[in-house]
């Protein structure tokens, strides 16, 4: 169990071990190596990728099964449950995004359910899966993908690319540049003030670029920060011996809220960003 002082392991070791991803990368000689990848940009966090893709597939398979035998007349219980989620996402999208898009609603659904499932891994007691993995000979196993900044950042980058594409689609090739340079202060176009125009444009550009880049960064770091902190507290609770049980329960109950809320926030902000991108000022 997770008690400090048992065996040679210290609490510091325990925490570090729990926060270490299972990594694979190529070393200088070109051979694949496991877990000696510090600072290697080409390394892959195998555990994060595995759980992320597995949970994504669970979502897709479960929902696809429902979608295949869906019926309007007599929905089964699971279909009703799935439809509640679909309807919830659909309402959120329709309330926020006023254009027509075949992508936004399924994107929101995927993000919501997938992120929710990844966050939910946080509620599995912190030692179960890593210990099972250790028994199977895998030294590290971090089971909550959203506590890996690569995962959250990977998703927000996809959203960022979509923001650019939607801006481009809604406002044409020059639209993005106009968005970045002519707001929030409109540069003067005639009179003596035209001298100030380049400075204003430069100022707008810096401001708007920061605002644009801040979107994916804040999106990913918000999720990562919440889940990482939650996971860390679970690990700390796991260190205190048998008294962890009531504490663990209390924190898990509270964490259910965070798990759901963060999944919802990620979905909602994605929709908001995309609706901002496709609406003209």
């Amino acid at each position: 169990m997770a008690e400090a002082g048992h065996g040679p392991q210290t609490s510091g070791d325990y925490i570090t071990h729990h926060l270490q991803n299972l990594q694979v990368c190529k070393d200088e000689s070109g051979a694949w190596v496991w877990n000696e990848c510090a600072g290697n940009m080409a390394a892959i966090n195998v555990d994060s990728m595995f759980w992320s893709v597995l949970l994504g597939l669970i979502f897709l398979v479960a929902f696809r099964n429902v979608a295949k035998k869906t019926s309007a007349d007599k929905p089964g219980k699971f279909q009703a449950f799935v439809e509640i989620i679909v309807d919830f996402v659909d309402t959120s999208v329709k309330d926020t995004f006023h254009g027509k898009s075949k992508l936004i609603a399924p994107l929101g659904l995927t993000i919501f359910v997938w992120v929710f499932l990844m966050n939910l891994m946080d509620l599995v007691p912190v030692d179960w899966i890593p210990m099972a993995a250790a028994a199977a000979g895998i030294p590290y196993m971090k089971v909550v993908p959203t506590t890996d900044v690569n995962i959250t950042f990977g998703m927000s980058i996809a959203v960022f690319i979509l923001i650019i594409i939607y801006t481009h689609m809604a406002k044409g090739p020059l639209g993005l540049i106009k968005d970045l340079t002519l707001h929030p202060i409109a540069p003067p176009t005639k009179g003596i003030g035209i001298i100030a125009a380049p400075f204003i444009i430069a100022f707008n550009f810096i401001l708007e670029t920061v605002a644009l880049v801040a979107k994916p960064i804040s999106l990913s770091l918000r999720l990562f920060g919440n889940m990482f902190a939650g996971e860390l507290i679970f690990i700390l609770i796991a260190l205190i011996g048998w008294f962890q049980l009531p504490l663990h329960f209390g924190w898990a109950v509270f964490h259910v809220l965070i798990v759901t809320l963060q999944a919802f926030i990620f979905m909602m902000l994605t929709i908001v960003y995309l609706s901002l991108a496709s609406e003209s000022h």
């Binding site: 940009m41 994060s48 869906t70 659909d90 075949k102 659904l109 993000i111 993908p145 998703m155």
Partner: protein, 156 residues
């Protein structure tokens, strides 16, 4: 928490998942939901129509019932009147029959009385003649005294 190639892997995974969701999950689910919503709306409209029809049918039924009641009252009144008529007729017939029978009985009684009287008269005259014979000790020719006897008989 160093950035590495996991980021690209996750981005690719997300693109694929979202594409799959957009292609194979969202449309049938939403179609089912919308179809059901339509059906519910239709059902509600039908229910409303049904209510309206029921209302109309109720009004019609009420009308029919009140008509029937009126008719029934009419028939009842007629029946009463007819019954009274029959009773009155019966009474009249009865009275007539009684009077008739009474009259017949009276006539018979009169007839019998007259007959008895005639008989009696005859006998009385015979007795009178016999008694007179005895008194006179001789025969009276009834033919000679027919006028007296007839007078006597008619006086009795």
């Amino acid at each position: 928490m160093d950035i590495n190639a996991t980021l690209i892997g996750q981005t690719i995974a997300m693109v694929v998942f979202v594409w799959f969701c957009m292609k194979y999950i969202w449309p049938p689910l939403l179609a089912a939901i919308e179809e059901r919503q339509e059906k519910i709306a239709e059902g509600l409209a039908a229910a409303e129509k049904g209510d309206q029809k029921l209302e109309e049918a109720k009004a019609e039924a009420d009308q029919i019932i009140s008509d029937a009641r009126k008719q029934a009252t009419g028939i009842l009144d007629q029946a009463h009147a007819r019954a009274n008529e029959i009773v009155a007729e019966g009474k009249a017939d009865g009275t007539k029959e009684r009077d008739r029978q009474l009259a017949a009985a009276k006539a018979e009684i009169d007839q019998e009385t007259n007959k008895a009287r005639e008989e009696l008269r005859g006998q009385v005259s015979a007795i009178a003649v016999a008694s007179a014979e005895k008194i006179l000790q001789r025969e009276i020719d009834p033919k000679q005294h027919e006028d007296i006897l007839g007078k006597l008989a008619s006086e009795l």
